[in-house]
Subunit: 238 residues, 3 copies
C-alpha cells in the first residue's frame, strides 16, 4: 500500500502528507501575531506545528501523543471537525508549539510516521466503523483531547453507529478494573459524530484487556449490519 | 426489497438489524454502574434498550414512540448525530429503559418492525430529501425529541436543503389550525443538519391535513433541483 | 456547463434553482405569523426571500451581499449547516426581508445569478477544497455572517482540511496590511466543518493582495495531498 505521498515541495511550511486519512503536516516558524491573537490555544507559541486530517481523530491524536513525548514540543490545540468524507466520525486539527522550528518539524514527521500503527485498530464496513486505541503512558495529546491523566495508561473504545459504542463500552468496563474518564456520544463530547466512545485510564494491563474486549464485541455487532469490518493496517493492540 | 438482515447472532445484546437507515437494535440487561454514571439519561435504568442508526431520526423516533406505547418501557435519551452518510440530515441514537430485559428487547423489536412504515414518507433525490411524520397520539419518544404533548396528535414536516423546509412549514401551518411547537433549522434545534422542519401538535385531522399540504409543496420544490424525489416504502399518511 | 435548471414552475414561492451547490431560491409573500414567531431573525419581516444550498456558504453569502446592495431588501438570517454532500464544508440558508415580494424575488434572482462568479475561486480536489472571496465594499450579508464592517473591503481565505487554512491565513496576513476580523476553525466559528478561514477587512488593494497570497500557498498545499485542485468557474479575484 502506498501510504505516503512523495513530493519535493517548494513550500517552506510543508512537512509531509499521507493518503491515510488525507493527513497533512505543516510548520509555521513564526506565526503572525494577529493570527496568534485569534487562535484558541492553551499556550501562545510563535513556532507552531500543524497536523490536519479529513478522516481520523484518535489515530492522529495518539500519533501526536508519541511525537510530543519524543520531541521538545507541546500540544496547544485539538479540534474535531465532523468529517470523514461522508463517514460517521471526525477529522482532526492538532496544533503543537515549540521554541525551535526544527523541533516542531520533527514532531510532525514523527506523528505522520505513526499513522499506520494507529490506524491498525480502525475497522471499517459500509455501515460504520470501530476504533480502538491504547497507550501505556498518556502524554499531552491524550490529556488535552480526552482528559487522560498524563503518565498513566489510556484506552479508547469507539463504535459507529453510536449504539454499538454503548455496548462496546459496557463490555470493556465489565472486563477489567479501569477508571472510566468519560463516555462521548453524538450529543455529548463529540462534534455530532455518530460515535459512542469510552475513555479509560488505569493499570496498563487492565486498560489493554478492556480495550480488547470492547473490540471483540464491536466486531461482531458491526458485522450484523451486513459486511465484516476490516482494517487497512495490522492491529497493534494485543 | 430485503429490508431486514437475517442472522443468528452469538452476541447476547443483539436484537436485530435493518438495511433501512443502517439501523441496529440492542439490549443491555444490566448496564455497568460506571457507564450508567457517565450516560446522560432522563432516568437511570439499569436495563436499557438501544436503537442506533446511520440514516434517519424521525422514522426511528416515531417507531420508538409506537414501541414504548406497546411495552413497559420508557424513552430516556435521544441524540441526533449529523449523519446520513453524506446526506443532509441526521442519524439517531435512542435509549430506552425498563425493568425487565425482555420488555426492552420487545420494544426494540417493535421499533425495528416499524421502520418500513415510518420511512414511507421519506422522499430522496440527489439534491435533498423530505420527511413527513404523523401520529394521532404522541408518546415519550416524540415528547423527548420534539416537545410533543403526550396523548395529542403530532406532525413533522421537514425539507432539505433547509430553505425548502421553510416554505413547507409555512404552507402546512396555513392549511389547517394547528399549534406550532417549534421550527428547527441548521443553526437552531438541529445538529447543524441542512433541514428546515416544523413540529406541530393539535387536533388529529388538522395536523394530518397540515402534514399533507407540506408534503405536496415540498415534492414540487425539491423536484425543481433536478430529479423527482422518491420514497422507498409506501406512504402511510393519507 | 449547464448552470441553471430550467423550469416553468407552478409553485408561487419558487424563484429559481441552480446545479451550482444545489441552490434553490424562493419567496414567501406573506409569512404565517406563527412561523415568523418561531424563526430566529434579526428583524421580523413578513415578506421573506430564501436562498438555500447543499454546498457552499461563502459564494451564496457574497452573492447575496451584492443582491441586497442592488435591491430594497435586508439580510435577516444566515445559518450554516454542516453539509457539502460529504465534503469538508458548509451549505447555507440565507433569509432576507423586504416590504414588497417583487423586491425579494429580484434579490433572490440576483443572488442566483451571482453564483458562477462567486464559485470562481472555489477549488476542489478529492482531498479538500479552498475558497477565496473578495468584495471592495461589504454589505449586510458579509456583515451578518462574518462581522465585516459595512462599506469597507472584505476578504475571505479558507482551506480544507483546516490546517491548510491556518497556513493560508498566516501567509495572507503577512502579505499586506489588513485588519484580521476573526479566524474560524472546526471548533470555533464554524459548524464543525473541516475548514480554517480568516476574515479580513481594510483597504481594498491590501485585502485583495492578501487574498491572492493565501490562494497561492493554498493551491500548493492542497496539491500535496494528491491531485491539483480545480475550479469550475473562472477566477474573479485578480
Amino acid at each position: 500500500m502506498n501510504d505516503f505521498l512523495n513530493s519535493t515541495s517548494s513550500i517552506s511550511e510543508f512537512v509531509g502528507a499521507s493518503h491515510i486519512g488525507d493527513t497533512i503536516g505543516m510548520v509555521i516558524p513564526a506565526v503572525d501575531q494577529m493570527l496568534l491573537d485569534k487562535l484558541t490555544l492553551t499556550k501562545k507559541y510563535s513556532v507552531i506545528g500543524i497536523l490536519s486530517a479529513r478522516s481520523g481523530a484518535g489515530p492522529q491524536i495518539l500519533s501526536m501523543d508519541d511525537a510530543v513525548k519524543a520531541t521538545n514540543t507541546e500540544v496547544i490545540d485539538i479540534e474535531l471537525p465532523r468529517d470523514t468524507k461522508g463517514g460517521a466520525g471526525h477529522g482532526s486539527l492538532i496544533l503543537i508549539g515549540g521554541y525551535d522550528p526544527s523541533d516542531c518539524r520533527q514532531a510532525i514527521q514523527v506523528a505522520l510516521d505513526g499513522l499506520p500503527k494507529h490506524f491498525g485498530d480502525v475497522y471499517n464496513s459500509p455501515a460504520g466503523h470501530l476504533e480502538l486505541q491504547f497507550t501505556a503512558s498518556a502524554a499531552g495529546a491524550c490529556h488535552l483531547a480526552f482528559g487522560a491523566p498524563v503518565g498513566k495508561a489510556y484506552g479508547l473504545v469507539c463504535g459507529a453507529p453510536s449504539g454499538i459504542g454503548v455496548v462496546m463500552a459496557d463490555t470493556a468496563i465489565k472486563t477489567a478494573s479501569v477508571d472510566v474518564l468519560s463516555f462521548a456520544s453524538p450529543g455529548h463530547g463529540t462534534s455530532f459524530s455518530n460515535e459512542g466512545m469510552v475513555h479509560m485510564s488505569g493499570d496498563s494491563g487492565a486498560v489493554r484487556q478492556a480495550v480488547m474486549a470492547g473490540r471483540e464485541v464491536g466486531l461482531k455487532l458491526l458485522a450484523e449490519l451486513g459486511k465484516q469490518p476490516v482494517a487497512d493496517f495490522p492491529s497493534y493492540i494485543k
